[in-house]
Structure formats: structure tokens, C-alpha cells
């Protein structure tokens, strides 16, 4: 196999397998698991977006939960106050969160490294109290309930799609899985050409990027916008999945776990993202099963996280790259 063919064929085949796996998965697991996998798909969307910003452009964000909150509340408000059907609020959430990302990105381009980390962390810290403050708009501390409304698909009666009758959890799973796969491909297309190259140039050396005519302000702002739009979609799906939003739906820890997920997946690569999303969703649950005594799950979780960093210095993507690399002696060219 030539190297060029390998470079396109391997991802395409892997993606086709992933899509096929996701399509048939609900047939093998129960309802409850299907819902958990819906959350995996949601985290996949969020960390794909975060990877555009942190992995490809090199800008740390500790505040992506805030953009998810913007997306989630956009969906909730549109559904309850304006009677918009849930699926149609998803693009709106992407637009609103993306716009917020661009607005935040413009001043943030002045900051780099830890200063940017603090700035993004600040918005994650500020989000819950600010949501509480605008009570009339956001329902304050008690939040907005979506369950049992007309606008929430399949929450009252099962929905029929292509002749299949789907209950809420299965419908939710297919919605999230489809959106995440589509956005995964979009990210791949977005990152592989000229734009992706410009973003990586910004990450590797700002000075070199500028001297080749890459505008730092434009590309950093673009990365912020795209990344926040992804987070917005994830937040929108999150609101639909929990059928409820309140300020604590999007805590600071969510932002931190997203960063953990993207580093576990591997920065600057799309290959490991599914593993990162699974890590975010299932490791806490699994750690709870190990021991019930207070504090023990946290000990297990922390220890595993540290062990993963020991074993996979470049994340799951690094492992995949190492496995796929042509062995010495074989003529890969």
C-alpha cells in the first residue's frame, strides 16, 4: 500500500467502521446504555471543537463549559419561550455560541499561554452566577424544564423514523450520534486544507506564521468561533438529553473534564477523540463501581488519569499513530 493511499484509506475505513458500529449499537445494548452512549456522542462533539482550538491552534481553553452553557440555554429558551422544535434549535445554538466565541476571541488574541487559560477559566467561573442573575431570561437557579413539552421530540410519544419506532433514549442516541459523526467529518474537512495548515502554523510558531502572511488575529478568532460553535452544539444536545437546564448543568468541572478528554484523546489529531469522549463519560461511572466509600472513586479516577498520562504521553492518537507507522524494513514508500 502506498503511503498516500494509506493516509486516506485508513481514516476512511476506520470512520466507516465507526459509523457502522454506532448505527447498530442500540440493537445490542439496553435503553439506559443507549442514553449513556448519547452522552459519549455529545462529548465527542465538544472535544472535537476543543481540539480545533487547543490541539491545532495551541490556545488553551479552560472555559468550554461556558460555551456549552450558551448553546444549552439557547436551545432551552427557544423551545420554551418561542415554541421551536428541538432539532431546529441546534443550528441556532451553534450560531449563538459561535458568535460568543468570536466576541471572546477578539480580545483573547492578546493573551497567550496561562494568561489565556485564566481568561477562559474566568468565563467558566462566571457562567453559573451570571445565569442565576438573569432570572427572567434563564429561570434563575431553578432552571428550565423541557421534559414533557411538545417541542421535545419523542418525550411524549415515540417517534417514527424510516419505519422504525424509537423511544426517547434511542431517538436521543441516534440524534447525537448523527450530529457527532457529521461534525467529525466537517472538522476533518476544515482542518485538512489551507485553513488547518494556517492554524497549525499559528500553534508551532507565531512569528513564522506571521512572516508567511498568516494573520494571527484572524485565525485565532476563527478557531475560537468554530470551537465555540461546536461547544454550542454539544450544549444544545446536552440540554435535550438531560431534558432540563439549570446553572449547575454546566459547572467549572465540565470545562476541566473536556480538557482532560482532549488530552487523553491526543492533541492535534482527530484519531483518538472517540476514546477521549468515552473516557469522560464512563471513567467516573466505572470508578464509582470500584468502591463506594467516600473519596475512593476520586482516588481511583485520579490514579487512572495519572497512569494514562504515564502510559500514553501523546494520548490515544499517539498510540494509534505508533501502531500504524510502517515497520522498519518494510517499504512503505
Amino acid at each position: 500500500m502506498s503511503a498516500r493511499l494509506r493516509r486516506t484509506a485508513v481514516p476512511v475505513v476506520a470512520f466507516a467502521l465507526l459509523a457502522a458500529f454506532m448505527l447498530v449499537l442500540p440493537a445490542f445494548v439496553n435503553d439506559f446504555r443507549a442514553q449513556q452512549f448519547a452522552y459519549v456522542a455529545i462529548y465527542l462533539v465538544a472535544i472535537t471543537g476543543l481540539n480545533v482550538l487547543s490541539g491545532y491552534t495551541g490556545q488553551i481553553s479552560l472555559g468550554h463549559g461556558a460555551f456549552m452553557a450558551i448553546g444549552g440555554y439557547t436551545t432551552a429558551i427557544l423551545m420554551t419561550d418561542y415554541g421551536v422544535k428541538d432539532v431546529w434549535t441546534i443550528p441556532a445554538a451553534a450560531l449563538v455560541a459561535g458568535a460568543a466565541g468570536v466576541l471572546f476571541g477578539i480580545p483573547a488574541t492578546r493573551l497567550s499561554g496561562l494568561y489565556l487559560a485564566l481568561a477562559t477559566f474566568a468565563i467558566a467561573v462566571a457562567t453559573p452566577p451570571v445565569i442565576k442573575r438573569f432570572e427572567g431570561f434563564t429561570g434563575g437557579g431553578s432552571g428550565i424544564n423541557l421534559f414533557g413539552t411538545e417541542e421535545l421530540t419523542a418525550s411524549l410519544t415515540p417517534v417514527e423514523i424510516l419505519g422504525f419506532e424509537l423511544n426517547f433514549n434511542n431517538w436521543l442516541y441516534y440524534l447525537c450520534a448523527t450530529v457527532s459523526l457529521v461534525l467529525y467529518v466537517v472538522a476533518w474537512l476544515f482542518l485538512r486544507g489551507r485553513t488547518g495548515r494556517a492554524l497549525r502554523a499559528v500553534r508551532d510558531s507565531e512569528t513564522a506564521a506571521v512572516s508567511f502572511g498568516v494573520s494571527l488575529t484572524r485565525y485565532k478568532t476563527l478557531a475560537f468561533g468554530v470551537s465555540a460553535a461546536y461547544a454550542g452544539v454539544a450544549g444544545s444536545l446536552f440540554a435535550i438529553a438531560t431534558t432540563f437546564v439549570n446553572p449547575d448543568t454546566f459547572p467549572i468541572s465540565l470545562s476541566i473534564f473536556l480538557l482532560v478528554g482532549v488530552v487523553v484523546a491526543g492533541l492535534g489529531s482527530l484519531a483518538g477523540l472517540v476514546a477521549g469522549a468515552i473516557f469522560i463519560q464512563f471513567l467516573p461511572l466505572w470508578a464509582q463501581e470500584v468502591s463506594k466509600s467516600p473519596g475512593a472513586p476520586a482516588v481511583v479516577y485520579g490514579a487512572i488519569l495519572i497512569a494514562v498520562m504515564f502510559l500514553l504521553p501523546y494520548g490515544v492518537a499517539g498510540l494509534i499513530a505508533r501502531l500504524l507507522r510502517p515497520r522498519r524494513g518494510s517499504t512503505g514508500i
Partner: protein, 299 residues
């Protein structure tokens, strides 16, 4: 006006605590180039050790204080050698994630060993106040300011006037050349982690009497310390202390103003976001912090 000055003094006291922890963050950032997210939890752990010694084993306060500092120093060195150093290759974020893992792990350990119950901690300083002019000042506040600033001064003397201090500064500034002139760089960095853990322990023990001891005690304080360190310039020790004091006073003044209907819109919960917004405003004007220097790199 007396009211206002009183707020400033107690702001300085909490600012001293933020400053100590901020200084710990700065020390580690200078040595290893990362933010240690576990700094607050390590401090909580130290504070629990001091609490156990005084409450369960009948030690008096200051011996327990010193013993805790020694244990914390060892703990800091150990953490660096065991989990941080092996992970230093590759992206900086890898080490950052390791410290997040440590945060979760240490927090779990504290709950496992001492349970999540909230504990009252006795203060080493007498309660009550004395008056200067019309301002009533709590002994607790003065003691907190004195201890935290005292530790900072000691540290400064150590870095400025001892050979090990010089070696540590050399290792932080230029590891490769420091190694060439015979500085054992790895051990210097480990020492830096140990000293940072000591500073964190001081901050934790000073904070515990007023905020009560529980496993999440230092999490909010870590956010303040992070903000203070960045405000001052992440590589500037002076900046960290000044940033901490500034933030402590700022938060108190904001709440004082709200008594008079000013900034009324800012509820108790919005105070931290407000303070962060002000800091971000400062950073937009000075992107490397107040005392920081813009890094100039050769390409």
C-alpha cells in the same frame, strides 16, 4: 471611613493567604513551566495533618505547624520526583493534566482518611480586636498578615543570599547552562516543588480558622491565587504577593461598596466574577501581568 479601613485590613489578611498560595504557583511555574492545579488540594492535605496533630494527638499549635511544614516539604519533593518528572516530555498540557489527576486523587484521599465533615480549627492568635485611631483591627488579621508576609520575606532571603537559592534560580532560568556549571537541576526543581508545598501549607493553615476545614476548603482560594499570580505576572514573585493583597482588598471593597448601594447589582455570588473581570481588564492593557515581562524569544 473607619469602616472602610477595617475592610481594607481584613482584605489584606485574606490577600496574604491568596498571596502565599499564588507565590507557590509562581515558584512552580518558574521551575517547571506549568500551573499546579493540585496546589490547593496539597495544601488542604497539609492542613488536615496539622488539625489531626493538634486535635487528636494533643500537640500544641506551633510544633504541629512546623512539623506540618516539614512533612509538606517532603511531600512536594516526592510528588515532583514520582509523578511530575517522568511526565515532563511532550506537551506541557500533559503535566497539567497530571496535576488535575493529582487534584482529584488528593481530594479523594482527604475524604477517605478524614471524611468530608466540616471541622472547626482553632486559631493560634487571640480573638478580639485592638483599635488604631477609629479602626478596629482583629488580632487574627494581623497575625495572618504577619505570618504570610514573614514567610515571603524568608523565602526572598533564601533565594537572594544562599548558594542553594542561587542554584535554584539558575536552574529555573537556564537549565542547560546551570547543569554545565554543576547545578543538580532536577533536585533544584524538586526543591522548588517542596518549597511551594510549604507555602501552600502555610496558606491552608492560616485560612482554616476563618473558612473552616473541609476537603474543598482550598478550591476557591486556589482560584483567587491563580488570578492573583496571573495579575502580578506569572513569573514574578513580587507580583504574586502584590496581586494577592490587591485581590483580597478588591473583594472586600466591592462588598463594602454594595452596603452603600453602589455595585448593588453585584450579588455575593457575582463578586468573584467581578473581580475576575477587573483582572481581565488589567490583562488586556498589560498582557503579561503588572510585574511580568513580555517574553522575547529568538526564532
Amino acid at each position: 471611613m473607619a469602616d472602610f479601613l477595617q475592610q481594607v485590613v481584613s482584605g489584606l489578611a485574606s490577600g496574604g493567604i491568596y498571596g502565599s498560595l499564588a507565590l507557590a504557583l509562581v515558584l512552580i511555574h518558574r521551575a517547571t513551566g506549568i500551573i499546579n492545579f493540585a496546589q490547593g488540594e496539597m495544601a488542604t492535605f497539609s492542613t488536615y495533618i496539622a488539625w489531626t496533630l493538634t486535635t487528636n494527638h494533643g500537640w500544641s499549635y506551633w510544633p504541629a505547624f512546623l512539623f506540618t511544614l516539614a512533612v509538606s516539604f517532603g511531600g512536594g519533593v516526592g510528588v515532583y520526583q514520582v509523578v511530575i518528572r517522568p511526565n515532563e516530555r511532550g506537551s506541557v498540557l500533559r503535566v497539567v493534566i497530571v496535576t488535575i489527576g493529582l487534584l482529584i486523587l488528593v481530594n479523594g484521599l482527604v475524604q477517605l482518611i478524614w471524611s468530608g465533615e466540616v471541622r472547626a480549627v482553632e486559631s493560634p492568635f487571640p480573638s478580639g480586636t485592638f483599635t488604631v485611631g477609629e479602626v478596629a483591627i482583629a488580632y487574627q488579621d494581623v497575625g495572618t498578615i504577619a505570618v504570610s508576609l514573614g514567610v515571603v520575606v524568608l523565602l526572598w532571603l533564601f533565594f537572594q543570599f544562599t548558594k542553594i537559592g542561587l542554584a535554584m534560580r539558575a536552574a529555573a532560568v537556564n537549565p542547560a547552562e546551570a547543569r554545565l556549571v554543576g547545578v543538580r537541576v532536577t533536585w533544584m526543581l524538586a526543591l522548588g516543588w517542596g518549597l511551594a508545598a510549604v507555602l501552600g501549607a502555610v496558606a491552608g493553615m492560616l485560612a482554616a480558622p476563618s473558612v473552616f476545614l473541609d476537603p474543598t476548603m482550598m478550591q476557591a482560594i486556589l482560584i483567587y491565587a491563580f488570578a492573583a499570580a496571573v495579575l502580578g505576572g506569572i513569573d514574578s514573585p513580587v507580583g504574586a504577593v502584590v496581586g494577592g493583597l490587591f485581590l483580597g482588598v478588591l473583594l472586600n471593597v466591592l462588598s463594602w461598596l454594595s452596603q452603600y448601594g453602589l455595585f448593588d447589582w453585584f450579588t455575593e455570588e457575582l463578586r468573584l466574577p467581578t473581580a475576575l473581570a477587573i483582572i481581565l481588564g488589567v490583562l488586556l492593557v498589560r498582557p503579561a501581568g503588572i510585574f511580568g515581562r513580555q517574553a522575547v524569544r529568538k526564532v
